[in-house]
């Protein structure tokens, strides 16, 4: 944020922004009243914003507008939506809550199907295909690296994929007096999988760290700039 158009509202906004930044950051030193104040304001604003966006983007164009000025078919569609939405809205009130259950069931059904369809066509098939095509040379790694490098990389990825997948294997054998355990060789493969999972988690943690550090730096840069600006005034 480098641009400061200093009319009154902008100045007020910048001061507010700076103040909230410091207040939230003070949580590092411990919980405090101002921090509580800031997060409650934040939760309220975020919820209000989301509610208005929902109104503007869904309820208004999908229900209100068609009922007022739509064709007969549109009006029917919107009225049905209105009735069902009202039922769902009753979920907000404990006594009427039961009326909304069919609509919630509808949502759960559609959600379940979307989730299955997406997981099969979007993750499972493409990822399996990608694993198979690792051995399609030249391909996955471009033509720049020598073939043996490509092959060994492909093998590492393949071993990682398969062992991480096997790591999750749940089935176990019964053993007397002890917890059921997986077959020894599955456990061995699972340990290799665990190694890959640890590395993946490490990469992800570092990614999260870099991303959040960017936010930290941006906030502090903003604050520093604000202080400099303030003293120049």
């Amino acid at each position: 944020m480098s641009v400061f158009d200093l009319n009154n509202l902008d100045l007020l906004g910048t001061v507010l922004s700076f103040g909230l930044t410091l207040i939230v950051f003070s949580f590092i030193f411990g919980d405090n009243l101002l921090f509580r104040f800031a997060i409650h304001v934040f939760v309220g604003v975020a919820a209000g914003y989301a509610a208005v966006m929902t109104w503007y983007n869904v309820l208004l164009p999908e229900i209100a507008v068609p009922i007022i000025g739509g064709s007969q078919a549109e009006r029917f569609f919107a009225l049905l939506a209105l009735v069902l939405s009202t039922l769902l809205f009753m979920k907000a009130f404990p006594r009427l809550s039961g009326w909304g259950s069919p609509v919630v069931a509808y949502l759960v059904g559609v959600g379940a199907a979307t989730v299955i369809g997406g997981a099969v066509l979007g993750t499972l098939f493409p990822q399996v295909l990608a694993s198979i095509n690792l051995f399609d040379f030249p391909g996955s790694f471009g033509n720049s690296s020598p073939v043996w490098v490509q092959i060994s990389n492909a093998v590492v990825i393949l071993v990682g994929t398969i062992s991480a997948l096997i790591f999750f294997h749940f089935g176990a054998r019964n053993r007397h007096d002890r917890h059921p355990e997986r077959a020894a060789w599955i456990s061995a493969v699972a340990r290799i999988g665990q190694i890959f999972i640890a590395i993946t988690f490490g990469v992800l943690f570092a990614g999260v760290y870099i991303a959040s550090m960017t936010a930290f730096v941006e906030r502090m840069t903003f604050s520093a700039n604000f202080i400099l600006l303030f003293f120049q005034l």
Partner: protein, 257 residues
Amino acid sequence: MNYVYLLNIVDNGILGLGFVLLFFFVMIISAIIVRRRDEPLLREISTYSKLKRSINLAVESGQRLHLSLGSGGINYMQGGSALAGLSLLKRLYRMAGLSDRPPVATSGDGTIGVLSRDSIRSVYDEVGVREEYEPTSGQVSGLTPGSYIAGTLPVILDQQVSTNILMGHFNSEIALLADASERRGSLTVAGSDNIAAQAVGYASTENLLVGEELYASGAYIQANTMHIASLHAQDFLRWAIVSVILVAGALKLAGVL
């Protein structure tokens, strides 16, 4: 279409439908087998053992449990993780619902909030004490992922929670909840479908449910037939996938495909 179908032999849709049907039948067969068996034969997941223990301890010592259902909605891929959390919620309420400090459930999504209240209410109904049902025990604490975390922090910090169970969809901010829990000396158990959150959870808590383990909560916490059956079905298809990858990969390397 640049979306090349599997091995270009069969239409993707038919193959997908075939896979789903296969999954269905394997689940049914596993359910029949599981029903006949005395005890579930599943590997031990130490996080679940710890979770069970801490729930029991909390119930006995009259401490509050907090179940955080995350900010993912039912219609998302993330819904699965919230569903796992919801079935646990019912269990918690059956055990501790009428204690002085009943468990509290927080969620960051309207639908999950509704479902959490339904779950709690149904337990009160079961016992015939509907009038004791407190609608605020299943609360929505923020409606966007960031504000959900912000709204959940006070619950962890204020309500004398002994165990925070974070089961649902979270972003990397899950570390803030785990940290607040640590500041209060409470136990944290975390599981999320979001793998970035898992990575952060791996560093922040000893009790992490990794990846697919989260979806096994029904089988491990409730020892529920269909849940156990679905784990066996997952195992079956896991090996099917491994075989397909290995065989087709080998054929590819040999230049057959």
